[in-house]
Amino acid sequence: MAKVPKPSELLPGISYQPPAKGWMDVKPDFRPGTYCNPAAPKWMEWIGYPYPQARSIPDNNWGLPDNWQEIVLQGMEDRLDRFRSLKVFFDICVRCGACADKCHFFLGTGDPKNMPVLRAELLRSVYRRYFKKIGRVLGEIAGARDLSEDVIKEWFFYLYQCTICRRCSLFCPYGIDMAEMTLLGRELLASIGLNIDWAMASVAQCYDKGSHIGATPQAFKDMIDFLAEENERITGITTTPSYNRKGAEVLFVTPSGDYFADPGSFTLMGYLLLFEYIGLDYTFSTYAAEGGNFGWFISHEMGKRLNSKIYAEAKRLGVKWILGGECGHMWRVCNQYMPTYYGEPVNFLEEPVSPITGTRFENAKVHKMVHISEFTADLIKNGKLNFDPQRNAHIKLTFHDSCNTARGMGIFEEPRYIINNVLPEGNFVEMPPNTIREKTFCCGSSSGINASENMELRMQGGMPRANAVRFVHEKYGVNHLGCICALDRATLPTLLEYWIPEVDVTGITEMVGNALIFPDELERTTDLRDRPLVGFEEAAEEDAEEGE
């Protein structure tokens, strides 16, 4: 793996001065650390994707099919016919540059092709050349260029340096959405066999077994049972998750990040405690074991193929409605795509009603799926949860709005309401206003690029986020970054470890679980991570000494 330069080398090295050569003449620099490996053929075979072949980026020959150009152009035409967005976004950009310094990858790399406007031009220039008379006739001076293998390589490089976060689309005066073009551009790449391994492996595993991490049903159950045991050890409370249980009222779906690794697993412990506390009649599914959807990062179709399992499983189990865990892109897909993927009213489910408070989630009456933050906020509002915020007193928190729940849904207040209830007063501070809510910065590793071989790129892309965290860390002593996104919990710890190691990452439901007072619990001296609570630091030290 390529060595990542130190922060003190990386940051001063960023220059926003474009090169002297025109952008059409500059080829991408495939430096180790800045790109993702191409997908191994076996993953593509698993899901029936075309042109599986072992490929290597440094190789000059990427092994494209003979008629790759025809496939790409036909694919572009096809997508222009099927997506009005693509036509309009190709035609109306005025290159005003408002999006330029909004992209975290541009801010982190200084590469002008990471300005959303220019990233889009990489595709647009081909559109002009083959679909516009003026481009066909005038060529370069009309901003058009031939579709060469170099162009394909450039697409591969830069379309996987976009995390589909939509920050550019927020600032665009016409709402031009790079995310949409990136998704469709990736579809074109996939049509000639070019995919990235990290995303493709996750997709294939999810398709085959049930989750991105490829957990078998028994492994899935083991992981969650283990977390339930952890809960019992720390709180004395027996949480009893069930699996594939027919007749449960609610199917709970959460991303695999929440049961696979820390710190996401602490959030899952929080879910288990919360559901136990309120006595929710729910089940996990080992089949629809993945809330996240890396398929959507590859194509709209693959997004649907993975997503379809959720409704199918809800139907099979006969649940009334679905509860979704903390995840960003999962909720972009669930909110803006899932009912449309399904295509008709989901009549086998009921309009979600909280069995504890009786609240009808009318805003989900077609979707039949409720966000855990909505659900929890409603419980708190109705006085159903008893908290000891002091148990979170060691957490000085700031909140990272995930791009997808921010700009693809609009869930801002619920997590903040929960935070304010589970933390002592004064322990929550916001980052600067231009870096949160709808203007939030991406973690820099979303959309399937949270691999390890592109670590330098990830650290660059996450720089604006880390920069804002550093600000509140220094000013207010913030030591935790909260989020409602499992991908964030997988990527932000690495990012912060690099830029600002004093800050940890936590899910919101982890803090809920930590603060919940059960009537018959053990005396609590630690949080769910076995860290001593405020006032119990000495006891913890003694324990540690005894242990030695």
Binding site: F83, P112, Y341, E413, E414, E438
Partner: protein
């Protein structure tokens, strides 16, 4: 010649060429061409081209409902949504209209614009940090240009109407309020030209912008600058025969075209550039004007979870059905006490 110079100079040369064509042409016997044929042709191309492009756009469906949400969504009734939330994440058609109106009339998204810079900061271990601040200059330049252009356009209706309707007269009066020169100086024309120079200057001086700019970005700027400057020269310097110009204009709109003698060439230059602008419009980035109404990230109600959006080309996809999955893992599932559909 580098990329920037090539695109800049081609656009400049194109506009200067157009000026020359009109200037020379109008002094020959081709006045009927420049005064009548070209305007009609331009109007035809504009209308046909515009309609064609809108149909091309409209023919493609909108498969998914993908508004860019920029405020709290509709959720639990007690979670208050401010007016901003409702406009930036519209949950009803009413607020969608509000969002679009703000976008189209006030350039809402551009108003949000920020500038982000990496500044040296000795206190930071890496020696620098990002600073974000509100940056309204682009919004101001854009809004000044567009509204000034609108007023200029409307003001020109006095050439096409007889008698001139009261609102146009009033507007003209207001526009020429500052009478520091004879004839009264129209603010709109000045504002438009100044704003255009700003938009051009930022394109050239900002390295990133210069890097992405194409001839198609400079051309409309030069073209409209040419229109503005020729108009200003005509009014304040060369004093074109207004009566004759109006005769020509009225002739055009009443479909009884005439070319009165004695109109100075500068008028034909002005008219020709306007014609080129109209004819160019439907094939250019100027289509951002109607385009914003077609933008799915802006023109859709964010009601995904309670109103079904149907994708007309939705098709069944292949996914692993549950039973196939169970077949694969049945034994292990039984062993792990996970319920199964079939015991063997």
């Amino acid at each position: 010649m580098d990329f920037f110079k090539r695109h800049f100079l081609v656009a400049l040369a194109a506009v200067l060429g157009l000026v020359a064509v009109a200037y020379v042409g109008s002094q020959t016997k081709l006045q009927i061409l420049f005064g009548v044929a070209v305007p009609y042709l331009a109007a035809l191309i504009f209308v046909e081209g515009l309609v064609y492009r809108l149909i091309v756009w409209a023919r493609s469906p909108v498969p998914f409902r993908i508004p860019t949400t920029a405020g709290q969504n509709r959720t639990l009734p007690w979670i208050k949504r401010s007016l901003d939330d409702k406009l930036d994440n519209p949950d009803t058609f009413k607020y969608l209209l509000g969002r679009m109106a703000l976008e189209v009339l006030a350039f809402r998204s551009l108003f949000r614009n920020l500038r982000t810079e990496l500044r040296k900061d000795p206190d930071n271990p890496e020696g620098a940090r990002l600073i974000h601040w509100s940056y309204k200059w682009l919004w101001l330049g854009a809004i000044a240009f567009h509204y000034a252009f609108l007023v200029v356009l409307l003001r020109h209706l006095r050439f096409f109407t007889e008698p001139v309707p009261m609102p146009i007269q009033l507007m003209e009066h207001a526009d020429g309020f500052f009478q520091f020169f004879v004839p009264a100086v129209y603010l709109s024309g000045i504002v438009m030209v100044v704003a255009l120079f700003y938009l051009l200057a930022r394109r050239i001086t900002n390295p990133s912008l210069r890097y992405i700019s194409l001839a198609a970005d400079y051309f409309p700027l030069f073209l409209i600058l040419g229109i503005g400057i020729s108009g200003i020269l005509m009014r304040y310097v060369y004093k074109v025969d207004i009566v004759a110009v109006k005769q020509l204009a009225l002739g055009l709109v009443t479909l009884h075209p005439v070319v009165p003698p004695g109109i100075a060439p500068i008028f034909y230059v002005h008219l020709f550039l306007v014609c080129v602008l109209f004819a160019y419009f439907p094939f250019s980035k100027l289509m951002h004007a109607p385009g914003v109404f077609f933008s799915p990230s802006r023109n859709m109600v964010a009601n995904n979870r309670w109103v079904l959006h149907v994708n007309p080309w939705n098709y069944p996809v292949k996914f692993t059905p549950y039973l196939q999955y169970e077949d694969k893992f049945r034994e292990a599932m039984i062993e792990a006490d996970i319920p199964v559909e079939k015991e063997s």
